[in-house]
Amino acid sequence: MLKIENLVATVGEGEDAKEIIKGLTLDVPAGEVHAIMGPNGAGKSTLSYVLTGRDGYEVTGGSAELNGADILDMEPEERAAKGLFLSFQYPVEIPGVPVMTFVRTALNAQRKLRGEEEVSAAEFLKKSRAVAAKLKLTPEMLKRPVNVGFSGGEKKRLEIFQMMMLEPKFLILDETDSGLDIDALKTVSDGVNELRDPERGMLVITHYQRLLDHIQPDKVHVLANGRIITSGGPELALRLEKEGYDGVLSEAV
């Protein structure tokens, strides 16, 4: 599924360029959920941006493949059409563009890139209603501009809404638990768990163990200083929770 090998990436341009990812190797097979944990500044968000192709992040070494296809040379939208989805840590406001318009435009753009037919308005509406209900989003909210005036929790639910509508093949959740209260965390996690599928892979980036109580990972990786320092099963997350990063890191080095 997602295969990252010895990835090196910098942020910034010219002399200001700073190496953040320093030889990262990671393999997430289809059907598995992997968590990436790590202290602030470890390179967690950078990894998500490098994988999705954001401007300002340059890959200087290594490779990343999704189902065998090299994604690093693709435009962001091509990666999206290949099924790569990022749930943003800070979802962006798009004034004047209603959620429904945005998601439908995105879905059809992806389908077009994949050479598929556009979805019919009726079909889209029907599905969006069902998904919205699961995420406790009101039809009214879907008419509002994307993320504008949404609370932190609503924004995260809206990310999951988009994810469930677009049905990506590989999901990256960047700190999806930040800003969520317990109830919202449950709603969001239920949505994510519904997408667990033998054909689908997930990378869950988080600071805290609490999200992993709800979305149970097959593997946990600790990212520090641009590398995976140590990996293990779900018990590693619990250990991190108890001992902190310092404890686990000093042992790993």
Binding site: G53, P76, G96, V97, T101, A109, Q110, L166
Partner: protein, 517 residues
């Protein structure tokens, strides 16, 4: 920032702009100004010129209390010591303030007991402008179908608008007063309000735009003739849109109207302002002051469709529109929103602004400005963030054609205590032809590191965050830009109340899609 210089002989049409847009903008050229007729009616003028006696004359005509006269005289004294500002990017010959009339009113009385007493000529004028003053017509839209105005009142599908019609210096009619009164809303000419609600007027007049604010505002304080007063009491949602239509008719007359709108705690009001003037060869001066006060949890929406006579293609005649509009979000969680569609005037100098004093208060400015012929517009807004978590949004769309020149000038100022203040500014310009210009002059001052300020002037500078967000979802760059721009234009159009949006559209007929290049 964009300076127009497309190729010579033909109008260069940017990608994404269809020919209709160009045609529509061209159709706005002066000969097509449909509001340019004048009304033959006997009028009473103040003696020409400006001096203390004129100020007294106006005050006496309005039967004003002593405090009002003193307030005017104080302003006049200040004005004499002030100098006309010249910092804006507009050019016009010196104005001879002594060569104008400061008061003009239809001769047969200034105020009419009922709509039936309003002279037919004036009713016709407003009717020609599409502003029927008879309530039944307002309700039903057609004449003769007015057998039961009461039935229509229960018909919630039809938007209803109460109108205050100002003809030169006086308010000639105010509709729906009874129904508004039942809701507790005061909606009347400011002259009446000064007499009937002196304590309210005195409490708020000049508190948003101080007497000494600027040259034209100070002049207005001295000689303002009429305008609208609105007070919406605590917790009341004004049951209908309120509007004032300003009509300049008399020759050589300045119009100095004064508008004061107060939304008390938790109140809501949407107010519309429309303006037209006859085509005349000489320039007419329009120096209005608008003050808005929103108390705790109150919201005021103020929309303008300004269609003053812009002058002919050679730049002869037209209205000088030097207006001071300012809203004060005085209470926590209050909100003031300015929406303007500016198509007229020879020279415009106007910055509807918000003082975001209350915590969590919100200020918005949405503007579409079209200049053509020899028109000049220097317009924009000021957002002063004083309270915590105050938010402001500025969306400005400028279209210049012909030999016109347009400047967006804006100030976003975040003060020391405005923790977590946010501003978003988007200014887009569209140039049609090779002899017009557009300039963007945004000022930003912040005294807080946590302020979030975004300014976008062109599509290439659209927020990277938004662009990436959309592309991550599968849109290519072009689609992403189109979607975002559509969203922004939509913001402005959608801010206009339904019935006004239609008017604005018929005025503009300009598709703004792709106005960012």
């Amino acid at each position: 920032m964009a300076d127009g210089n497309p190729s010579a002989d033909e109008v260069k049409v940017k990608d994404g702009i269809d020919q209709n847009t160009v045609d529509a903008a061209r159709a706005l050229e002066s000969k097509n100004y449909s509001a340019g007729f004048s009304t033959e009616i006997e009028q009473e003028f103040a003696p020409k010129g400006l001096n203390e006696d004129i100020v007294r004359f106006i005050s006496a005509k309005k039967e004003e209390p002593e405090w009002m006269l003193e307030w005017r005289l104080k302003a006049f004294e200040r004005w004499l010591q002030m100098e006309e500002p010249d910092w804006s990017n507009v050019h016009y010959p010196p104005i001879d303030y002594q060569d104008a009339y400061y008061y003009a009113a239809p001769k047969k009385g200034a105020k009419y007991e009922s709509i039936d007493d309003v002279p037919e000529e004036i009713l016709e004028t407003y009717k020609k402008l599409g502003i029927p003053l008879k309530e039944a017509e307002v309700l039903l839209g057609v004449e003769g179908a007015a057998d039961s105005a009461a039935d229509a009142r229960t018909d919630t599908d039809k938007p209803r608008v109460a109108v205050d019609a100002v003809f030169d210096s006086v308010s000639v009619a105010t509709t729906f007063q009874k129904e508004l009164k039942e809701a507790g809303v005061i909606f009347m000419s400011i002259s009446e309000a000064i007499r009937e609600y002196p304590e309210l007027v005195q409490k708020y007049l000049g508190t948003v735009v101080p007497q000494s604010d600027n040259y034209f505002a100070t002049l207005n304080c001295a000689v303002f003739s009429d305008g609208t007063f609105v007070y919406v009491p605590k917790g009341v949602r004004c049951p209908m849109e309120l509007s004032t239509y300003f009509r300049m008719n008399a020759q050589g007359t300045g119009q100095f109207e004064r508008t004061l709108i107060i939304a008390d705690e938790g109140a809501y009001v949407s107010y519309l302002e429309g303006c037209t003037a006859p085509m005349r060869d000489e320039n007419q001066l329009h120096a209005a002051v608008v003050e808005l006060v929103a108390l705790e949890d109150a919201e005021i929406k103020y929309s303008t469709v300004q269609n003053w006579w812009p002058g002919d293609e050679e730049g002869k005649g037209g209205v000088y529109n030097f207006v001071t509009k300012r809203g004060d979000c005085r209470g926590d969680r209050s909100k003031i929103s300015w929406t303007q569609v500016e198509t007229g005037s020879a020279v415009t100098w106007k910055y509807p602004s918000c003082i975001l004093r209350g915590d969590d208060s919100v200020g918005e400015f949405y503007s579409i400005a079209v200049t053509n012929g020899r028109q000049q517009a220097d317009t924009g807004t000021k957002m002063l963030h004083l309270g915590k978590r105050t938010k402001s949004r500025i969306i400005s769309k400028g279209i210049s054609a012909g030999n016109s020149d347009q400047t967006y000038r804006g100030l976003v100022s975040v003060h020391k205590k405005a923790e977590g203040a946010r501003n978003f500014t988007q200014c887009d310009s569209l140039l049609i032809g090779d002899t017009c210009g557009a300039h963007t002059v945004p000022y930003v001052e912040t005294r807080r590191a946590d302020a979030q300020l975004e300014h976008e002037a062109t599509t290439t500078k659209l927020s990277e965050d938004q662009l990436f967000y959309a592309r991550q979802r599968g849109l290519d760059e072009e689609q992403a830009v189109a979607l975002l721009v559509n969203g922004f234009v939509r913001d402005v159009i959608q801010q206009l109340p339904m019935e006004f949006a239609v008017e604005a559209q018929s005025l503009l007929q300009v598709s703004l899609e792709g106005s960012v290049g």
